[in-house]
Symmetry: C2
């Protein structure tokens, strides 16, 4: 018995998109869904209540960061990540792989696992399929991820092929190490770089392992958008209809819509929180650099069409002042708005699927946002 | 007709404390009151709604900082400080004098005013009684402060005497410059260093000018507590009973209670927000350094007796993690709690005055908090 269940509610007649619902031990969330990222057991700047107020259905947290600080044992003692951070809705944790591989020269990959240095104190650490799962078992998220290698872009065919095969071997070790399959759903991650043949190989190998859900990793790593869409178009159709599909690390508005159109159910990205902290906000008319002097005396809200706390209560002029003055409330308001913007976008995508007009929605949204 | 009205509700039979209410163009606040400090038009980390939820009746904002950034004209265009920051309860602005005098070598005091360098871009600035009032008129706070010299501690008698006399001359210029006496109440500031004779002289001179309220400045600047209490005991009895008395820059729990006992109605201090950001919290059992490893696995709230959002929802273990990881939510929670703690302390002080037991309350509170 899997920890989660995917319900396919409806397919869009205009696109390959699907409306669904994922049931977890901490309630359900509707798909296609965007997952705000709470790297260190907190979505930067937001309280759990605020996340609920903007209708976040599931959040993601990072195994690597939590392992380094405060450590999974402290979180386990608190009763798991949900209790630790006081979030009673679903949580997904990544495997730590992506962060470890991002360290570049500071890590060494071997069959057994990866040796790396802590970003906090420089101490030597080791992560393997077994330890990544063990940590995630202690954290207790509803959905956990297999330990994989996220391949850089570009990469040689032969390197990618070897890596894909190792990711499969690691996936098997993850399944074996997983202690709580009835309360935590372990997702496999399809890799394969920008090679369709290897994407297919990876998918086939992982399908045999019958994971309760599948992620597509190693995309949005610097390749042109068209190349990413091609990879999705060759991979998604191979994945089972009765399981959720998660495109990792993707969160710009265009990628979210294009991903949904290609049958993706789940997304995550630090984009809305990160650009918010730097003073950039997403609006129905495109990105806006709120730090700009242009807005110093602008008495309108960030986005007149938005219903978030920032837009209902504060002007561009005030928020610009807060960001310029490096005030916490400034970061809070831009983050709040950006997350609401993306969560609302996904809500609109779901509505459009329901009404078989996702392509029309896409064209209208892109036109207003300023995409071609 | 003054912009504010002070209602003396009751005097404590155990002490010199008074229960009162100050009516302003933006509603009333109960006294003795603690005013959270919103230096740059935001109480660091808090939203206006959160400030209301912890029953902040009035907040303070800093003229110097707002003059430098974003500039009083931008705030005036927004409809004044209340509209700019979306706070519809009373606001008090200081005169900018304290900040300017804190600059030390970077400023030059003359009869006309003070020349200083901006802390943001180093540009040369000038503040005088007239310009300090003009800026405050544009900001539009309910209570504004005269431009005075805050004397360092220790200081020579003759220097202080000259300074006190200049502060009186400046006070007259402030009254003359004030354009909105019917919507903004201008408070005079009694100075005099640690010399009773000069405190009396300052008070007498300012009383002749008939301000709608009086502040006591230049205390809590490094002198022993006893010396501060002596100054209060010689100054407060000279001030009119029908006007509020404001002890500037004071906000540690003991000073708040001792100040109230000596007849002070209003206080402000950055202490709760500043120490909160550094990971220190105030509790009914004393100060707690939440960063300490001692709390790494502590599943209890900061203060089990507290009703704030932080204490109702999160553990010491989690808050310690957030502070260690430099997360915004950590700063938010410690700030939230510390402000609630002081606002609640003042509420308890008001209750104790009502029931003529402020001395008993003081002794009990100090015993638990760990003061002698």
């Amino acid at each position: 018995m899997s920890a989660i269940r995917y319900e396919l509610i409806k397919k869009c007649k205009q696109t390959g998109a699907r409306l669904g619902r994922v049931y977890t031990p901490h309630g359900y969330f509707d798909t296609p869904a965007f997952m705000p990222v709470g790297t260190q057991a907190t979505v930067k700047g937001m309280s759990p209540d605020e996340l609920k107020s903007i209708e976040a259905g599931i959040i993601l947290s990072n195994t690597y960061h939590l392992h380094i600080r405060p450590g999974e044992d402290i979180i386990k003692e608190a009763g798991g990540l949900h209790k630790f951070m006081n979030w009673d809705r679903p949580i997904l944790t990544d495997s730590g792989g992506f962060q470890v591989f991002s360290l570049g020269d500071f890590r060494k990959i071997e069959e057994e696992g990866v040796t790396f240095k802590s970003h906090v104190d420089g101490s030597k650490k080791f992560l393997s399929p077994e330890s990544a799962i063990k940590i995630q078992n202690k954290l207790g998220a509803d959905i956990i991820m297999a330990f994989d290698e996220c391949i850089p872009y570009p990469a040689e065919f032969h390197y990618v092929k070897k890596s894909v095969e190792r990711t499969t071997r690691w996936a098997k070790r993850c399944i074996k190490a997983h202690e709580n399959p009835e309360t935590q759903a372990l997702f496999g991650i399809v890799q394969g770089g920008m090679y369709k043949e290897l994407r297919r190989q990876s998918a086939y190998e992982l399908l045999e392992l019958d994971f309760p859900g599948y992620a597509i990793g190693g995309l949005s790593v610097g390749e042109p958008a068209e190349e990413m869409y091609e990879m999705l178009e060759c991979t998604v159709p191979l994945l089972p209809e009765d399981k959720p599909r998660y495109l990792m690390g993707v969160g710009s508005p265009d990628y979210l819509v294009e991903g949904a159109i290609r049958g993706i159910d789940m997304f995550d990205c630090v984009l809305p929180t990160r650009i918010g902290r730097n003073g950039t906000v997403l609006t129905s008319r495109g990105r806006m650099i709120i730090r700009d002097a242009l807005y110093a005396r602008d008495q309108s809200p960030i986005d007149p069409d938005c219903d978030c706390y920032a837009c209902k209560n504060f002007t561009r002029s005030y928020i610009r002042h807060l960001i310029k003055a490096k005030e916490v409330l400034g970061i809070r308001l831009t983050t709040w708005h950006n997350l609401r913007f993306l969560l609302n976008l996904m809500k609109n995508v779901r509505e459009a699927i329901k009404e078989d007009r996702l392509l029309d929605f896409r064209n209208e949204f892109f036109k207003n946002f300023g995409y071609n």
